[in-house]
C-alpha cells in the first residue's frame, strides 16, 4: 500500500522538511554536530553568547563540557572554509537556554544556516532571501526587520562617541527609548549636533527605500555610506522577484552588537509575540578564531511555532469507532479496515469507550448492521 507518509507529520515538521529541501536547492549542506562542546569555547567567547547561562558537566576524562547554548559558535570554530573555498551549511539542532520567566533551562529546537568564506553582497542576498522564504513557509503574514551595525559603528566612530557610553546608547536605541537616549547623550556631554544626528539615526524606521534615502541624508563617513550601499544592493536583488515585501528598514535593531557587525535582521510572523528568526553578518566572530573570512547566517526557533499552530491544530483522529463486548471482532476489523481504505491516510481509532483527551472528527458505533454515525454527543 503506497501512501504519503508526510501526512502523519505535524505542520511544524512538514515546514522543517520543506525548508531543508529549499536550503539544499541553494547548495547548503546538512551539518550535524555533537551534542556537547567544551565549556572553554563559551568561556572564551562569552560576549558572543546571547544567553551566558550554560549547563555544564564533567566528562569522564575530567574535561568540563557544556550542553550547547549556541550552534553558530561551534560552526564558526570548526569551519573548513578558506579564502578560496566557501562553506554553506544548514543545521537542525537543540540548544539549551535559561528561560527568564521560569528561571529554569529549556530545550530550544533551532533550524538555521551559515554561509562562510570570502563573501559579497550576492551571498548576503541569498541568505536573506532564504530567511524570508523561511518566514513565508511559516506564515503568509510575516515581517522582517533589517538594519546594519556597520552604519551605527561608523556613525559613533565619526562622532567620537566614547566606548563606555555605547552599551547604554544601544540599549536605548534598541528599546526605542528616545526620551532616555536624549538624556543619556546630554549627560555624556555629547555635542548638540552629534546628539541630533544620533537621535535622527535612532528614529530611522519604516519603508525600506524611503528609510534608506533618509539614512543617506545623515551619512557623515565612508563607513556609513558603505553600509547603506550594501543594504541597497541586497534590497535591489530581493526586490527583483518581489522578495522585498514585508521588509522594513529599522535602525533601532542594534541588539547583539558583539555577535553581529554588519547586516542584521530579525523575522516575525503574526500570532507569535516575539521575533523567531535572528540573523546577520558575524565576520568579527571569525576573526576571533583567527580566520579573516566573512560569515552570515540565521536561525529560526521552531519552539515558537507551537504557539502559532496550537490553536490551528485539528482533531487527533478522523474517525472513532465505538464497540461493545457483544461485537463480532472479525466484522469489527473488516469495518475499521474498510473505513481506513476510504481516504488516503484516514486516521481511524477503535475503542470501547471514548478516551478523555481524544479529539475526533466523526464517531461511529459498531452494531450488527455495521457502522452507524453518532451525531451529537457520542
Amino acid at each position: 500500500m503506497e501512501q504519503d507518509v508526510t501526512q502523519a507529520l505535524r505542520r511544524e515538521e512538514k515546514i522543517t522538511l520543506a525548508l531543508r529541501a529549499l536550503y539544499e536547492q541553494y547548495g547548503f549542506r546538512k551539518y550535524r554536530m555533537g551534542k556537547f562542546e567544551e565549556y572553554e569555547l563559551y568561556m572564551e567567547n562569552k560576549s558572543f553568547l546571547k544567553n551566558p547561562n550554560i549547563i555544564t558537566f564533567h566528562d569522564l576524562d575530567g574535561r568540563l563540557m557544556a550542553l550547547k547554548p549556541d550552534v553558530t559558535l561551534s560552526i564558526a570554530k570548526n569551519t573548513r572554509a578558506t579564502a578560496q573555498s566557501s562553506e554553506k551549511v544548514y543545521y537542525l539542532e537543540n540548544v539549551y537556554w535559561l528561560e527568564k520567566q521560569s528561571g529554569g533551562y529549556k530545550e530550544v529546537n533551532q533550524l538555521g544556516l551559515e554561509s562562510i568564506g570570502r563573501l559579497d553582497a550576492y551571498s548576503y542576498y541569498e541568505v536573506m532571501l532564504l530567511a524570508q522564504e523561511t518566514l513565508k513557509a511559516i506564515s503568509e503574514s510575516y515581517r522582517m526587520q533589517v538594519s546594519h551595525i556597520g552604519f551605527w559603528v561608523a556613525l559613533l566612530d565619526g562622532l567620537s562617541i566614547e566606548e563606555a557610553v555605547r552599551p547604554e546608547l544601544f540599549s536605548c536605541v534598541h528599546g526605542k527609548r528616545l526620551h532616555e537616549l536624549k538624556a543619556l547623550l546630554d549627560g555624556a556631554g555629547v555635542a548638540p549636533f552629534a546628539a541630533e544626528l544620533i537621535m535622527q539615526a535612532a528614529s530611522l524606521c519604516g519603508d525600506f527605500a524611503k528609510t534608506l534615502a533618509a539614512a543617506r541624508r545623515i551619512a557623515i563617513s565612508n563607513g556609513m555610506t558603505d553600509a547603506l550601499n550594501e543594504l541597497e544592493t541586497v534590497y535591489g536583488l530581493l526586490s527583483q522577484n518581489g522578495g522585498a515585501e514585508g521588509m522594513t528598514l529599522d535602525f533601532s535593531l542594534v541588539n547583539d552588537c558583539d555577535y553581529y557587525d554588519g547586516l542584521i535582521f530579525q523575522g516575525y510572523v503574526e500570532g507569535v509575540p516575539r521575533a523567531l528568526l535572528f540573523g546577520g553578518y558575524y565576520g568579527k566572530l571569525l576573526r576571533k578564531f583567527s580566520r579573516n573570512l566573512d560569515a552570515i547566517g540565521f536561525a529560526v526557533y521552531l519552539n515558537e511555532l507551537d504557539v502559532l499552530f496550537r490553536s490551528q491544530r485539528g482533531a487527533d483522529v478522523d474517525a472513532l469507532i465505538l464497540y461493545d463486548e457483544t461485537a463480532d471482532l472479525s466484522a469489527l476489523k473488516i469495518a475499521a479496515d474498510s473505513l481506513r481504505a476510504r481516504g488516503d491516510g484516514l486516521r481511524v481509532r477503535v475503542e470501547k469507550k471514548i478516551p478523555e483527551d481524544l479529539r475526533y472528527q466523526k464517531a461511529f458505533r459498531f452494531t450488527e448492521s455495521g457502522l452507524e454515525e453518532v451525531t451529537g454527543d457520542a
Partner: protein, 207 residues
C-alpha cells in the same frame, strides 16, 4: 482590535483619562467596577486592567499590544518591549532610605531590603559596593526599624511614609514615571494604529 494593558488603580485612571483625550474614550463604560476588560468596539480598543507589575508581562508575551507601566517595573523586570513614550505621569523616585540617624559603616556588607532587587543590585554594582539583598514584598520601611537591614531601596512619592517611620532619603537611585510600551511584534503588524496613538499621546502629555 488593539489590546491595551493598564495598571489597576490611580495610575490606570489617569491613563484612561489621557486616552479619552485622544479620542479613545471609555468613560461611558468604566465606572470603577471590578471588571478586568473594558471594550470600546467603536474605537477598536480593548482595555485590560491588570496588576501594575503584570502590565509588562502582558505586553511582552503579546496578550496586550501596548500598555502603560511604571519605569520601576521596567527597570526591575527588563522586559523585551519597545518603550515609546515617557507619559510624565505617576512621577516618583526610587531612593535609598535609612533611619534618620543612619551613618553608613563602609567596612561591613550593606544589608538592603527591597522589592526592586535588580535595580538595587545594579545601583550598588555601579558603586562597587558589596551588598546583601533581602527581598520583601511590602512594608519595606519596617526592615531598618527592626534591624533586619541597614537601608531600604524603595519608591518615594511624597516622603510622608518615610517620615512617619523615622526614616530619611539617603540617595536618589533614579526618577520614575509611567511609560507607554509596545510589544515588538504588534509594533510591526499594527504599526499604523500604534504610531498614531503614540503621536496623539505625545501632543496631550503633561509637561
Amino acid at each position: 482590535m488593539l489590546n491595551i494593558a493598564l495598571p489597576k488603580g490611580r495610575l490606570g485612571d489617569q491613563v484612561l483619562s489621557l486616552f479619552s483625550k485622544i479620542g479613545f474614550d471609555c468613560g461611558g463604560i468604566y465606572d470603577g467596577d471590578r471588571r478586568l476588560v473594558l471594550e470600546s468596539p467603536e474605537n477598536g480598543v480593548r482595555y485590560l486592567l491588570v496588576k501594575p507589575s503584570d502590565v509588562a508581562i502582558y505586553v511582552e508575551y503579546g496578550a496586550a499590544d501596548i500598555g502603560v507601566v511604571g519605569k520601576d517595573i521596567l527597570l526591575d523586570g527588563s522586559p523585551d518591549v519597545y518603550e515609546l513614550l515617557d507619559l510624565n505621569i505617576g512621577k516618583c523616585r526610587i531612593c535609598v532610605a535609612g533611619p534618620e540617624d543612619y551613618v553608613e559603616d563602609r567596612e561591613s556588607v550593606l544589608r538592603v531590603a527591597t522589592k526592586f532587587t535588580k535595580v538595587a543590585q545594579n545601583y550598588y554594582n555601579a558603586k562597587n559596593r558589596e551588598i546583601e539583598i533581602i527581598k520583601l514584598n511590602g512594608s519595606i520601611e519596617l526592615a531598618p526599624i527592626l534591624g533586619l537591614t541597614d537601608v531600604i531601596v524603595d519608591i518615594v512619592e511624597s516622603g510622608r511614609t518615610l517620615k512617619e517611620n523615622h526614616l530619611k532619603v539617603l540617595e536618589t537611585v533614579c526618577p520614575i514615571s509611567a511609560r507607554l510600551i509596545a510589544n515588538r511584534a504588534s509594533y510591526l503588524f499594527k504599526n499604523d494604529v500604534i504610531t498614531s496613538i503614540t503621536e496623539k499621546l505625545r501632543e496631550v502629555l503633561p509637561q
